[in-house]
């Protein structure tokens, strides 16, 4: 969608050559970003009275990077990675997740969510708890259900582990709404939510996340063969560039057009951003009393007394 001329190959780690495409305007100082995110994780946990974190490790780059960051922040012994494949998930995803766990030396836990999901939608012509209608559900509904099932598992596991759920969603998917509300977006805090996908790759390369994870096509892995870029019809470097100029740099449609972004893509991405506003905000509460939470009762989340004793 964006003009190819302005995109250059970024370097994804000097020693290992170029792993991914990095639009130059999105290049960040990976060391500073890493420093901020590691400090953020450490402080979020400490201020909440926790020393441990856990996350859903999909085998993709986002959760792999967060696992590396949490391990650096609080030590691998304080990190639990939970693998939650469905029976149609790519076996490669589990392999890549195990690669991360082996590299970090953190705790790993595998929960097959197939019986939970199949218990609702049914399987092999047999209806499940959701009834005959749910048995015919399209893949989008199943995908959302899987994402929310994983959320349930993570929050359950957080109790015996005694840790907080660390978010793994990036800025690109948050802005276009490529996430499941109360599913993969559910977390106690998110260290990478202000990094575009291209920047996630940059920091992942700097932290030496395994190359095969950085190289592979991003996928929600909700059904076989699914990839983000095919499903949404964009390439991440192009989408990241457009979002960066549109949102971070406040360029108008006219200015974006003059920069070479196609009109149809500008309109489409603007629509995706607007239509997913609800996913990025706390649900509104009807204002009735003198002080209403989130409106005129405004306390920091980590206020005194808020930490687990």
């Amino acid at each position: 969608m964006g003009p190819g001329a302005a995109s250059e190959l970024g370097d994804g780690g000097d020693r290992r050559g170029r792993l991914f495409e990095l639009p130059p305007e999105l290049a960040i100082d990976a060391d500073v970003a890493r420093r901020v995110m590691v400090g953020f994780i450490r402080n979020q946990l400490r201020q909440a009275g926790f020393s441990r974190g856990l996350l859903g490790l999909s085998g993709g780059i986002d959760s792999a990077l967060v696992a590396f960051l949490v391990a650096e922040a609080v030590g691998p012994e304080s990190l639990l990675c939970v693998l939650m494949p469905y029976r149609t998930s790519s076996p490669e995803s589990v392999d890549h997740a195990r690669l991360v766990i082996d590299r970090l030396g953190c705790a790993g836990d595998l929960v097959d969510i197939s019986p939970i999901v199949d218990g609702y939608f049914g399987r092999d012509g047999e209806a499940g708890a959701g009834g005959a209608e749910a048995h015919e559900a399209a893949s989008l509904r199943r995908g959302n259900f899987m994402a929310r099932t994983r959320m349930c598992v993570l929050y359950d596991r957080s109790v015996p582990w005694g840790g907080l759920v660390v978010g793994t969603g990036n800025k690109t998917e948050a802005l276009i709404g490529y996430s499941t509300l109360f599913g993969d977006s559910a977390c106690a805090f998110n260290p990478i939510g202000d990094l575009y996908k291209s920047q996630v790759r940059q920091v992942a390369a700097a932290m030496e996340v395994p190359e095969e994870i950085i190289r592979k096509a991003p996928s929600a892995d909700l059904w076989p063969g699914q990839t983000d870029e095919v499903e949404a019809g964009f390439s991440y470097p192009e989408l990241d560039r457009l979002l960066f100029w549109m949102i971070d740099k406040r360029r108008t449609d006219e200015e974006l057009l003059a920069m070479g972004f196609p009109e149809a893509e500008i309109a489409r991405v603007k629509r995706l951003v607007a239509v997913s506003e609800f996913k990025r905000q706390v649900p509104p509460v009807a204002k009735l009393g003198p002080r209403t939470t989130g409106v005129d009762y405004l306390y920091p989340r980590r206020r005194p007394g808020s930490a687990r004793p």
Partner: protein, 317 residues
């Protein structure tokens, strides 16, 4: 002349925990004394944390609060600058910085400019100060104290220098952001601040002391990078980004005289010219407002700024 030893307390305050932060200040004052410091500078809202929102009223203290006087006593024969939420007698809340000397609160500066844009929401919770004065320190140096955003307005360092400041002290809670690789040290905020501080030191031929906090409040990570800049604009010391610590810097107060003899910018300042033009500008702004009210059909465009009658400017007096 014996060098002046400055201790920069680049700490991470605990949000809303006044007693914990008071204890931390006492610890650092003790460490600074052992380190031979003459002046200890703590960051903006070091006693309370920054992202207070409705907690501001709960941690507010008056400037004559015994806990501040206690800190002043703990400072002993050192001078210290600490920052807190000040509740005035009329219950307005200010972001204040106090100079503690000789066991007492010697001077209080109330933050003048409250950023309320982007990630900032200060005006919602705080009142803006309305006095800009320097203070003669017992250290033999005249101080101009400012808080964070105050330094993003040119008139502040200029006025302080004209009022006799030889050392400009800025205490900050500056959130790190804009992580583009093109910036010096990879952080846009740090690059901007460094430009400002070197420029102010050079233009006012004064020392600039910057103490910025570290740590995390909610989503914000504060970047530290506290500095001391010589009157020549040269950075004498730059603290690490993001690391908590007590950093000592020795300065020669004689550098102010040397710089001002060699580069007499302050001698050549023309405050009367500045004042005359400021009066004119203010008068014209007033004219515009009057025009808008009294000549609504034409609108302000019918009378461009500068063409209205001067009212009380010295030029017509």
């Amino acid at each position: 002349m014996k060098p002046l030893r400055i201790a920069l307390a680049q700490l991470a305050p605990r949000l809303g925990l006044l007693d914990d932060n008071l204890a931390r200040h006492r610890e650092l004052l003790a460490a600074a004394r052992i380190g031979g410091a003459n002046l200890v500078v703590f960051p903006e809202l070091g006693l309370t944390g920054y992202q207070l929102q409705d907690l501001a009223a709960e941690v507010a203290i008056p400037a004559d609060d015994p806990r501040l006087a206690g800190l002043a006593r703990d400072a002993g024969d050192m001078s210290a600058i600490v920052s807190f939420v000040e509740e005035a007698a009329d219950h307005r809340l200010f972001i204040s910085a106090a100079l503690l000397e000789d066991g007492a609160v010697r001077f209080v500066h109330r933050k003048l400019f409250l950023p309320t844009y982007g990630l900032f929401d200060e005006r919602r919770f705080f009142a803006a100060g309305d006095r800009l004065r320097t203070v003669e320190s017992r250290l033999g140096v005249r101080l101009g104290i400012a808080v964070c955003e105050d330094f993003w307005h040119l008139a502040v360092p200029e006025t302080l220098a004209l009022d006799g400041a030889q050392m400009l002290v800025n205490v900050s809670s500056s959130p790190g952001r804009d992580l583009a690789a093109v910036h010096e040290v990879g952080l846009g905020t740090a690059a901007s601040w460094r430009t400002l501080m070197r420029t102010y030191a050079q233009l006012t031929t004064s020392f600039v002391v910057f103490c910025n906090r570290v740590g995390t409040d909610e989503t914000i990570s504060f970047w530290g990078g506290s500095e001391v800049i010589a009157p020549s604009g040269e950075a004498l010391f730059t603290a690490p980004l993001f690391d908590e610590g007590l950093y000592f810097v020795d300065i020669e107060l004689g550098d102010v005289r040397r710089e001002r003899i060699g580069l007499p910018l302050l001698r050549d300042e023309r405050p009367e010219l500045h004042l005359r033009e400021l009066r004119r500008i203010l008068a014209e702004r007033t004219d515009m407002a009057i025009d808008q009210a009294s000549e609504a059909p034409d609108g302000p465009a019918a009378r461009p700024p500068g063409t209205g009658p001067a009212t009380d400017g010295p030029e017509t007096a």
